[in-house]
Amino acid sequence: MPVSPKQARTLKHRSWVAFLVIPPIVFMSLFVVYPILSAFAYAFYEWRGLARGEFVGLANFKEVLIGPIMGPVVWNAFLHNVYALVALMIIQNGGGFFLAWLLYKEPFGFRFHRVAVFVPVVLSTIIVGFLWKLFLNPNFGIVNQALFTVGLDSLAKPWLGDASTALGALILANAWHFVGFPTLVYLAGMQRIPSEIIEAARLDGTSEWQLLKNVIWPLVAPSTTILFTLLFIGAFNWFEIPYVMVGLDGSPYGTTDVLGLVFYRTAFGNQSASIQNFGQGSALATLLFLFIVVFASMLTLWLRRREIQF
């Protein structure tokens, strides 16, 4: 049967679509879906080193969530992740919003500042971590030196060695590193707002604060949604900054422990202290993955509905 030109076109179109779609699907299945599923499967076995042992059902999940040894460690770390999320939401995203507002008003030198605020984001997290570790060194770090110079000796502390300041120091280092990202997203969001709306508000005689609170903030809600979702994911996957600055143990004595560190220690072992348990590590990774997927999706849906269209 001869192929009509129309059929030929559809065929050509279809093979073109297939050509575009199949490679990414194969790639994703191989490098994303398969590892996730296998990690999920690993979590149901007992492991001796990296050799798979017996099928143990939900025992690993149980140990990770409510076991006498792993349970307290995991929940302690989870709590720190929650702190990090809340604190970064205020400092990093909130700070980004105000920085964006300042840049939006195009003050003197705003082009320079627009770049400057984004530069740390481009730096490697490892470099930022080491840099801040040096800054916070109790004896020669720039932070304590600065405090000595201005006569605030009593405020100087071994920041990363003090249980009351270590986690806060990590959060601030992280905020310094990434604040440029929310700034840029909010700035783009603000620049999208039609200028008539702002002019109209100004004509009505709103104060700067009212303008920010009642006009700008609601209108950049889509940016908030995306930033909050990303921060949520980032805060629960937090690893690099704590790893570089306080080590795998969440020093001092677990006060900076986060789930990423617990996962790494459990799955791969900590050379200078502990041994690996791949099954429990996989169980923790699976739970963390499910938690992030479920909550991030719910959050996005909920926040999306609150956005205002214009």
């Binding site: 001796r48 080193g49 990296l50 050799a51 006498p68 040894i69 792993m70 570790k133 916070l136 060194n137 109790p138 004896n139 502390k157 071994p158 920041w159 990363l160 060695g161 003090d162 249980a163 306080v246 080590g247 143990d249 020093s251 001092p252 004595y253 677990g254 791969f268 072992g269 900590n270 050379q271 200078s272 202290a273 502990s274 041994i275 690996q276 348990n277």
Partner: protein, 420 residues
């Protein structure tokens, strides 16, 4: 015509294949290349030299030395082994970390038949490379390490002060140094595992061999006064650590000592070579943990770093075993000790370096580096517990009694004798 070419091609191919087979068999006789993995990038020159010496004896075997970053080594190695690959010869760690790769059967069991040179080692060294479940040795040990006190001879001499034998003398020495505005110790506790090395270096004589024996036999546990009192002494001496020691991490404490800004460093014998390489003008010495009262036995805490193992799945087993046997000879042990300034456990080696000689002499009076040797097989490991609880105690957040009780409670979750 076409048939002819086909035929010819086929014949040629067969010839080539045949020749190739013969050649490869010949080549296998002539040259076997072993791969050898390690985490010791800094020892590369030494190992290359060793390989050259080995090849003088075994010209048919060549060895390719490859290194990975220490913090990722175990992960990379166990992943490769799990995938059925990995190197022919493996630099492996000891104790619990050895078990992680030996238990699944990735390593070739060694005995006096296939490696007669095992007779060159003391039992405690072989024990470090023995799998507890089957009692077989899986690696040729390479280095003994000790936790002790390293000191700067010049600082003590200039200050006119003597080495302390007892704990009271140590405290007096610290006070005298402090009065002269010298940091007694450069140690800091911000890096968790440093807390364990400090305990080993400073408290071993007070904890004592008998305590170790009692722990192993189950007669005592960690709430024992010998252990609790030693922790209390550590709390006392911590005021002489680096300024703001709770925030001083491992590299900073090393730097402080290397720069000659502190008199002592409680830690590993492996630090000496490292300190010297960073500042060759340093004149260093070592002494054991101070004793509680004069006449007690002064001890250092010793353990074995790791060993050289053979991949059980290697196709070049004979060559790999030959290489590992070479790494078990006194000739190798002597080169290892003198070049790397790390003490090889092989009997009958000749030590040139005076500090290594001192360490070897001190090792005659030693106890185990307790948590690594006995309690790093299960979670929560004794090391995790000791590190975090001592860190917390030294930060003033718990008493020595509380720290000891926490350590005991953690280990009791799996160690039967403590569950009584």
């Amino acid at each position: 015509m076409r048939g002819l070419t086909m035929n010819l091609t086929r014949r040629m191919l067969m010839g080539v294949a045949m020749g190739g087979y013969l050649l490869s068999a010949g080549a296998a006789m002539a040259k076997t290349e072993l791969t050898f993995w390690s985490w010791r990038q800094e020892d590369k020159a030494f190992y290359q030299d060793v390989i050259k010496k080995f090849q003088e004896k075994e010209p048919d075997i060549s060895v390719k030395f490859e290194t990975y970053a220490p913090e990722n080594y175990q992960t990379i190695l166990s992943t490769a082994l799990a995938a059925g690959r990995g190197p022919d010869v493996i630099q492996a760690r000891a104790y619990g970390n050895l078990e992680a790769i030996a238990t699944p059967g990735y390593l070739l069991a060694l005995d006096k038949q296939n490696v007669p040179e095992l007779a060159n080692f003391p039992d405690s060294a072989l024990a470090a490379e023995t799998l507890r479940s089957d009692g077989k040795v899986y690696a040729v040990p390479f280095a003994m390490q000790a936790q002790l006190v390293v000191y700067n001879k010049k600082i003590l001499k200039d200050a006119g002060l003597n080495l302390p034998k007892t704990w009271d003398e140590l405290i007096a020495l610290c006070q005298a140094l402090k009065a002269k505005n010298i940091n007694p110790f450069s140690n800091g506790t911000a890096t968790a595992w440093q807390n364990e090395t400090i305990v080993g270096g400073l408290l071993s004589s007070m904890i004592g061999k008998q305590f170790e024996a009692d722990i192993v036999s189950g007669k005592a546990n960690f709430t024992d006064p010998r252990f609790v009192n030693a922790l209390a002494k550590l709390k006392e001496v911590s005021q002489y650590f680096a300024p703001n020691f709770t925030g001083v991490d491992y590299p900073s404490s090393q730097q402080l000592f290397v720069a000659g800004r502190a008199a002592m460093f409680a830690g590993g014998s492996y630090e000496v070579a490292n300190f010297k390489s960073q500042n060759p003008t340093l004149d260093l010495g070592v002494f054991p943990a101070p004793v509680l009262k004069a006449g007690d036995e002064a001890l250092i805490a010793t353990y074995y770093d790791g060993g050289y193992a053979v991949n059980a799945k290697t196709e070049k087993k004979d060559a790999a075993v030959k290489f590992v046997r070479f790494l078990a000879t006194p000739e190798y042990g002597t080169a290892f000790t003198n070049t790397l300034k790390n003490l090889s456990p092989i009997k009958g080696i000749k030590i040139e370096d005076p500090i290594t000689q001192d360490v070897a002499k001190l090792a005659d009076h030693s106890m185990s580096y307790l948590m690594l040797v006995h309690f790093r097989y299960q979670e929560p490991s004794g090391s995790v517990l000791l590190q975090s609880n001592v860190q917390k105690m030294l930060a003033g957040q718990q008493t020595p009694e509380q720290a000891a009780a926490e350590i005991n409670k953690g280990i009791a979750t799996y160690y039967k004798p403590f569950q009584k």
